[in-house]
């Protein structure tokens, strides 16, 4: 299991700071009225944060293709529940 070759402490601190910044952006955006897009922006920021956590804190970055496959596979199902539910709620 490979976990990357850079300085792990520096990487960890950089990711931590990035997560704090993204959290601040989430809070700031919530004060701007973008209509339905507020949800979209919030989800995009949350996805970026989750990706950082998975890539660096959970060491996905240096993992094998099999582990990557298992990590990405559930996104298909997340899409399914969103599409199926929206196909009802937005067209009801």
């Amino acid at each position: 299991m490979a976990h990357g070759t850079g300085n792990p402490r520096r990487t960890g601190i950089a990711v931590f700071v990035a997560l704090l910044l993204l959290t601040a952006v989430t809070v700031l955006v919530s004060y701007v009225d973008l209509g339905l897009w507020n949800v979209v922006v919030a989800l995009l920021i949350a996805s970026a944060k989750a990706s950082l956590v998975a890539l660096f804190f959970m060491h996905l970055k240096g993992e094998s293709r099999l582990v990557w496959g298992f990590a990405l596979f559930p996104i298909v199902f997340l899409s399914l529940i969103l599409i199926g539910t929206l196909a009802d709620t937005m067209l009801r």
């Binding site: 399914l80 529940i81 539910t85």
Partner: protein
Amino acid sequence: MTGIGQPETEGNGRGYLAERGWRSWAFTLDHKRVGAMYLWTTIFFFLVGGVFALLLRLELLSPQAKYFGNHAYNVFFTLHGSMMIFLFIIPAIPSGLGNFFIPLQLGARDVAFPRLNIASYWVFAAGFLVVIGSLVAPMDTGWTFYTPYSAKSAAAVTTLSLGIFLLGMSSILTGLNFIVTIHKLRAPGMTWHRMPLFLWSMYATSIIQVIATPVVGVTFLLLAAERVFGVGFFDPSKGGDPVLFQHFFWFYSHPVVYVMILPAMGIVSEVIPVFSRKPIFGYKAIAYSSMAIALGGFLVWGHHMFTSGMSPLANAIFSLMTFFVAVPTAVKVFNWTATLYRGSITFEAPMLYALTFIFLFIVGGLTGPFLGALATNVQLHDTYFVVAHFHYTMMGGTVMGFFAGLHYWFPKMTGRMLNEKVARAAWALIFVGFNVTFFTMFIVGVRGMPRRYAEYLPKFQLENVISTAGSAVLALGILVMCWNLLQGLRKGAPASANPWRALSLEWRAASPPATENFDEVPVVTEWPYGYGTPKA
């Protein structure tokens, strides 16, 4: 070489059962002991859930709510459904028989994470204790917990939700363990296409467990948040949507019917070739259809909600997808039937239950399209037709598959044989009792009798009396079967390592297997279905 020939290991006494005392069970890291603990627990809840079913049938002898009253009836069907689904049918085969036989069939010494395995049992135990705790204010919502009633009911909905959250967590841990075990611990030479079909079905099941279960866990947390903190997820007066609960609930609960049925299909795929003495027909088709069912099962949840006010487009899409998911299921049935064709069939108890699975599951399966089609669904929704369809697939299917597995693997698990005559007598009672109980429900369902009411129109009484009589026969059959299992456990004749002359690896271990399963890790050179050859 393994897969064909004499067992490497003959019986050596009590095997994994040798160590005694409660600590040897409570802290065990042996997958077989964990599996046995799951089996005892789930069978216990099967019997308790069965008692609730009998109480329901007793109440339905009369068109008026004569014996227990409406509220008690609602509590009984909620407890019957919740116990049977969450405490028996979901964990029984995967966590019970799966735990016991996945490493043995793989040629492994244990699962990949033995400590996680025993942890999953104790999380499960915590879950059922919380479920029992919820009986202080028993639920009357039905096992589906539909909002808005469940959000407002004075019953212990939050407690029961927490219990089921824990049960779900246990299910995820088990599924995760099995996926890694199947990927990483296959014996040398055991390629994916040399794996027994039970393992393919368990692999597909585990994927559903890991992916779908978190959704229901989160759904119950949202429900608890709504009840405790007043957050408006499902309550329209707070900006929520009650149908959203149904989407989330069925996104889990439809795939989970495949968690229930796929392992049973795996057992049938093992039993049919052994007792037909023929190679399984269409190995790859059966293996890949398990994966297709697992994935396709995620596309059809909306067919539970056709009358809930979904958009017409969503209704049409879910109806269409429902018909597609029937295809891989039919692939399995055709291949089992082709395996039977011109086989040297013998009718020992495991085979009787496996054949019963096919017969009853076809009835259950073919009544599915009536419910998947929009027009007929509106007529049949929430009638006894649905109850009959569900029980033909789940009890006629999964439970019969479970019984097939119990009888098939009993000699391996215990080192003792069952009394075959008593086993066949129990099967006959169960078969007759089941059909009398549930086929009448198709008839009253089509005639419009709604489910989940203690009272009904007097014109349905005859069918209900017949159904109740059938349930008594069914209960008697299950009691005889349990008595036979206990007798076999206590004083059954000693079993050889391979009493059925089967070819998969578990039969090469002793009966009962030693703690380490095999003296030496087996090397696999061929698939486990080479029946009908001079060697087997």
